[in-house]
Symmetry: C2
Subunit: 453 residues, 2 copies
């Protein structure tokens, strides 16, 4: 009987376990996780913190018992200390009892995920300084939030923006410190500035944004509050701090076992999710992904991708070796109240770095027929390569159905549409749903004109 | 100086006029239209009738004066009686004075649109029997609606369904008579039955649907109401009737001038929108379109397509002959209150008729993460060809973001994705916007399994 061990069970690990059990009911499958929970939606935590989801237990997709009922053994609160590939063994510590023991595997899947990046800040070890990784972190932040008036978030990108919303929903004055000159640094400056202005307008006095700045010191005050000091000399006092300065792949275990990392710092895998070591696979945030437009391997922690990788890994371990995970386009969306910011492919600044010659247009148009009361303005930046006329990326923001448009272009990017081919997309139209000449087409026509001149 | 005459000015005609004027400011451009208005949104009329749009004037996109200001001459209330291609002349009647005169052209664009199909029903000439083509029709229906309690709609497809909503918004009990066994006949029976049940549930007692039936006679009652008699023997009395039994291309003028029609009954054009007669072009609803999946030329009256054709025709007349309109995928959406029904490509029954071997799956899944309060169920039917595994079509219905998914697949259909390629689509994920494993992917995985077994 084949014994499969999975280290980590949040998104990709639990997906792989269930898929593999379905394909190979006789396989012996064990998940080891340091955490209490497996299979939960980390992405949902800002909505628990913000009060949109009342009960954090709702974020648990499958309980430990659900795994057991399906014949998958979950050892939670168990930390894998060491992988010994030459013996196909693992050294494990039971975190409840402290005892250590060995287990063996025929196939090992590393799904250790990613953890918060901790910037080098004096006083970062004080109390009331949080990161957001697992459900317990979510509980702690929420508990503190409910008795706070002032919060600081270090980092103004996806998680930072979602947390700011959740804090402001509780009328907590929030300061974001962001190194970049605007929030959402993965957007070009023109779009990023629009984003930041819109977010400020929505938030009124509840949000302060410090750009091009970093926190250098955190100090405890006499009242047990936290004084924040930034590089540019800004000082403020807050009740608590959340560090949302990005995440890094959790690869220590893998590296110590001789598993090779890629350029990105995440684990190098092939398109079947195999590492350099026979019978060791890596999936999810800890594994790097091929970006299909840049052709570079990158670190991209996203649960939608992690799920795909879990599925492909399971199919391959089950012997379906024709199944591959080809890579990603780089699609993302985040909402700040009703305002959505979405992106697929490359921003101009990213395309330039990679040697493309990006040509882009920005258009603002209604998302629905002008006469419909719910029509809202959306802004699209569409980018193509000067030489090939192939699409490189799209950035789309707005209050209406802005995010609807980005997946259309993500699909076009996957098949390397030129802008000339994009003209032929046949989009649905009805006044309460869309507009007769879609903003995507308006942007496309304008981009073609620009490329032709 | 080149003289361009356009017959008809609703969607494609006015688009062509403006685009051509921008490209060739020196061209002399004249639009003749029988109607009072040009450039209005016919698609918006159900929303005026339903009361969502208060002022019908809002449906006018550009007024006659806007055309004149741009240097385009609009002769409204002028009917073109005859096209004389050998003399490049037109015989025209001024509908206000009754006088007739000739005008000449260098390039002629036929944009005569489509008109309601009138079924063969006894008593169809009685008063209070309406069709919906232009703004005046919309005004008449609304006026009658406001003093009515009972309405009958002949035809239960796009327009019929939109009108039923608009009548029920005014608490008018509505009966739809539809020849097909379910509403929305362009959907497969399985999806169509779901659609009909959902529409019935939404409407409660306000909507009666008679399927597999037709109206055979309309009679005036003593109270000046209308008695309706159907083939199956159903009888009812209503205040007014709307005929929404489909539309037909308006091609009489073209045919009399020797312009060739296609198999579909609409005007045959090439991918530059040229007809068989030199210097005569046809665009919009009166021109047939190549369906890129069936490879058949079809009649498909849609303003989004009409706008594209107007643009391509103008570019070609201006000398940019590399610009082509390649065809359509067949994408459509309609809403009934908050319930949307969308489709792209072929339904199974259509695919079978064309000689494909359709294999399909139907899945129902949430459109957003389960724990988000706004998550709603959507149902997707995804179809591929058994032999090539290429996508053939999608039908998508639901209360949530069902219609969001169809355009993603319309884009995939345009580039002939196989289901195996569709697995690689990289869709955005964030809990308030979507779900970690998108319903499209769930349907795709299931369809691959079905195709492989």
């Amino acid at each position: 009987m084949t014994k499969v061990v999975i280290i980590g069970g949040v998104a990709s690990g639990s997906k792989a376990a269930f898929k593999l059990k379905r394909l190979k009911p006789n396989f012996d499958i064990t998940i080891y996780t340091k955490e209490h929970n497996v299979s939960y939606s980390a992405c949902g935590m800002p909505y628990y913190i913000g009060g949109i989801i009342k009960d954090i237990e709702k974020l648990i997709i499958r309980k430990v018992d659900d795994f057991k009922k399906s014949g998958i053994d979950v050892k939670n609160l168990h930390e894998v200390l060491k992988i010994i590939p030459e013996q196909k063994r693992l050294l494990i510590r039971d975190l409840k009892t402290g005892s250590e023991f060995f287990d063996n595997y025929d196939k090992l899947i590393i799904a250790t995920g990613a953890g918060p990046f901790m910037p080098d800040i004096k006083g970062i070890d004080l109390g009331n300084i949080f990161t957001l990784r697992n459900l317990n972190d979510g509980r702690k932040i929420k508990k503190k939030l409910l008795h706070s008036e002032r919060a600081l978030i270090i980092g103004g990108n996806y998680i930072g923006v979602e947390l700011a919303e959740s804090f402001i929903r509780h009328n907590v004055t929030t300061t974001i410190v962001e190194q970049n000159s605007h929030l959402m640094k993965f957007f070009d400056d023109d779009m990023g500035n629009l984003i930041q202005n819109t977010i400020k307008n929505i938030s009124q006095d509840y949000l302060n944004i410090l750009n091009s700045d970093t926190v250098v010191e955190l100090k405890k005050t006499e009242n047990n509050d936290i004084e924040v000091i930034t590089k540019n000399g800004f000082r403020t006092v807050v009740d608590f701090v959340v560090i949302a300065a990005g995440v890094r792949p959790c690869v220590r275990l893998a590296v110590e076992a001789g598993v090779e990392l890629g350029e990105s710092g995440a684990i190098k895998v092939d398109n079947k999710m195999k590492t350099n070591i026979e019978d060791i696979w890596a999936i999810g945030d800890c594994a790097e992904k091929l970006h299909l437009i840049s052709k570079k391997n990158i670190f991209a922690p996203l649960s939608s991708i992690a799920n795909k990788e879990g599925r492909i890994c399971a199919l391959n371990i089950a012997g379906k070796e024709a199944k591959t995970f080809n890579g990603i386009i780089g699609s993302s969306v985040v909402k700040y109240f009703d305002f959505s910011m979405s992106k697929s492919g490359l921003a101009d600044f990213e395309a330039k770095k990679l040697g493309f010659e990006p040509v882009s247009v920005i258009i603002t148009n209604l998302d629905k027929s002008k006469y419909m009361p719910e029509a809202k303005e959306i802004t699209i930046k569409l980018t193509a390569d000067k030489n090939t006329h192939k699409l490189l990326g799209v950035q789309c923001i707005g209050f209406g159905d802005a995010d609807k448009r980005v997946n259309i272009l993500a699909t076009a990017l996957l098949k390397e549409f030129t802008v000339e081919e994009l003209v032929n997309i046949d989009l649905t139209y009805s006044p309460p749903v869309s507009i007769s000449i879609d903003p995507i087409l308006i942007a496309t026509y304008k981009l073609i004109e620009k490329l032709e001149n």
